[in-house]
């Protein structure tokens, strides 16, 4: 899909009055995450996780600074940062992920004879869809696949991606906003520091406006 907000980058506002010190500290840290670093998942689990992340939240291949989604998920597991509740039918987060990654990879090997991260994207999607629908084999044991997919896998991966500035720019979100918030709140109004949408035939105009965001 064509870029809806061409040239828009929330990071352009990093030194503007839309960001405060605390925000800069937090986002700088996030931007500095090494996409390959994994302290929780083993070298064996890591490629499976990376491949799953690439299917759940695919990023444009030409993106200069892609969001390090797998590394962010790994960090969450490493710090064991829970959300404050756990469905009784699921084991604790760390155990759930370990078992699920093993099950997914195992499923790929038994179906196609290759590791999950070696099969084609199409087959990966098929397999993930099967997990989402709960149509899985016995590799899951008593770990409910459908529930895991919905409450853990999607939750952890999607929230990692949409917690990253690259995703904020993609969806035209205003990004951090303190001390400066927003002035114009009515329909079809944007403040000069917001993303400009490329309406059909107005891509150049939007790009020019987004270049001035800061």
């Amino acid at each position: 899909m064509a870029d809806r907000y061409p040239g828009y980058d929330v990071l352009n506002k990093r030194n503007s009055v839309s960001w405060n010190d605390q925000t800069r500290a937090v986002i700088d840290k996030r931007m500095a995450i090494d996409p390959e670093k994994h302290t929780y998942f083993t070298d064996h689990e890591w490629p499976t996780l990376r491949a799953i992340c690439a299917r759940i939240v695919p990023q444009p291949p030409d993106r200069v600074h892609p969001a390090p989604v797998a590394a962010m998920v790994d960090e969450k597991l490493a710090t064991n940062s829970g959300d404050g509740y756990r469905d009784a039918r699921l084991p604790p987060m760390r155990e759930a992920w370990r078992r699920a990654l093993a099950a997914i990879d195992g499923e790929a090997r038994s179906r196609y004879g290759r590791a999950f991260h070696h099969i084609s994207a199409l087959l990966q999607d098929d397999l993930l869809r099967a997990v989402q629908e709960g149509k899985v084999g016995d590799k899951w044991g008593n770990l409910p696949a459908k529930l895991f997919f919905q409450k853990r896998l999607l939750h952890d991966i999607v929230s990692s991606y949409y917690g990253h500035p690259a995703a904020w720019s993609e969806i035209g979100f205003g990004g951090p906003a303190s001390p400066r918030g927003y002035v114009r709140m009515n329909f079809d109004r944007r403040d000069p520091w917001e993303a400009s949408e490329a309406k059909p035939g107005r891509e150049a105009h939007a790009r020019a406006e987004n270049a001035r965001v800061g």
Binding site: V17, S178, P179, R180, G181, Y182, V183, R184, R189
Partner: protein
């Protein structure tokens, strides 16, 4: 045709030209109209109305002077310097109001993203009015200027049109004419500042054009009283606008009560002085008007403080100057108060004879 009112002259010329054109384009309709009883009836009515109006409003009868000659005499032997000064002071009032409108509508229409092309018009008209008024202040000639007249007329019309646009903006939103929309849709009273700039400017030109040994008249009325009425009404409207927005701000700062208490008293005293002038009431009116004029400047100071009071203060100017208390709005009070003071001085001279 009487030479006392060029406006009527122009109206007559317009009417005659219109008739001429109609005769060329639609001769049959014109002759049908001429044959109907409508035309004599209308002309009878017009004559009667004009006569009774002239009786009520006419200055004391003077020797009739040919219009061109009167104009020439006015140029060679102008009315007293005081009258000219009064005229130019009215130009100042128009200037202040025009400046206030120019700056305020620029910020507010920028906030509105100029989503309707017409939102550029008050900026253009305001700038022209400001320019014309400054020219008028500098121009020491004791006469009206047709360009200034036209610009002031345009200002008046633009202001009234703006009122219509703003009313539409309010009424088209959900809940129509509700408190919420009065607070946040287009400010209903703001365009009137431009209309007032235009009216006071026209008054300025009329006063400047007062012929020798005539009393200054505006719309056929003694200038002082007419301008007092306009100023008092203008003050009342501005009080309403400030009151509405300070109500929106919950009068959270005690000083916000000033623009809804001081100017109304000034307007009341001015109106009283116009109706029943006397030494004491004129004195009181003068001082309250001066206080109101000062309030206009103080208001800017308060609004500057208000911007600094918002999150991020002046550093967050891109939000707070647009969102915050309008910096150029309070000088409207100054412009109107000055006009009131000018009206007061004219009233005093009217009664001195």
């Amino acid at each position: 045709m009487t030479g006392a009112d060029p406006a009527l002259d122009r109206l007559a010329i317009l009417a005659l030209s219109g008739t001429a054109i109609a005769m060329l384009v639609r001769p049959r309709h014109v002759s049908a109209l001429a044959r109907s009883p409508l035309l004599p009836a209308t002309s009878r009515l017009t004559r009667n109305v004009a006569r009774s109006a002239a009786r009520q409003l006419a200055p004391p009868p003077r020797r009739a002077t040919a219009p061109r000659l009167a104009h020439l005499i006015a140029r060679l032997a102008p009315s007293p310097a005081a009258t000219q000064a009064a005229g130019r002071r009215l130009n100042s009032s128009a200037a202040l109001l025009a400046f206030s409108v120019l700056a305020d509508s620029a910020v507010e229409h920028y906030r509105g993203s100029f989503h309707n092309r017409a939102m550029y018009i008050p900026l253009v008209t305001g700038a022209l009015t400001l320019g014309a008024s400054v020219f008028g202040i500098a121009d020491k000639r004791a006469a009206r200027h047709p360009m200034r007249d036209t610009i002031y007329g345009a200002a008046a019309v633009t202001g009234l049109a703006g009122l219509g646009f703003h009313a539409y903006n309010i009424l088209k939103r959900p809940s129509g004419a509700s408190w919420l929309n009065l607070f946040y849709a287009a400010p209903i009273g703001a365009p009137m500042a431009l209309a007032l700039a235009g009216l006071l400017g026209r008054g300025a030109e009329k006063v400047r054009d007062t012929p020798y040994r005539r009393r200054p008249l505006v719309l056929g009325l003694p200038a002082g009283r007419a301008l007092a009425a306009v100023s008092a009404a203008g003050l009342g409207g501005t009080v309403g606008e400030a009151g509405l927005l300070h109500f929106r701000g919950a009068f959270q700062n005690p000083f916000m009560i000033a623009p809804v208490t001081i100017p109304p008293v000034a307007a009341a005293l001015l109106s009283a002085a116009a109706a029943f002038p006397g030494r004491i009431i004129n004195h009181l009116a003068r001082w309250w008007l001066r206080l109101t004029a000062l309030l206009g400047f103080a208001g800017v100071g308060f609004h500057v403080y208000g911007v600094s009071r918002a999150m991020g203060g002046w550093r967050n100017w891109s939000q707070n100057v647009v969102d915050g208390p309008p910096l150029p709005a309070p000088p409207s009070f100054t412009g109107l108060a000055l006009a009131g003071l000018t009206a007061l001085s004219l009233i005093e001279r009217e009664y001195d004879g």
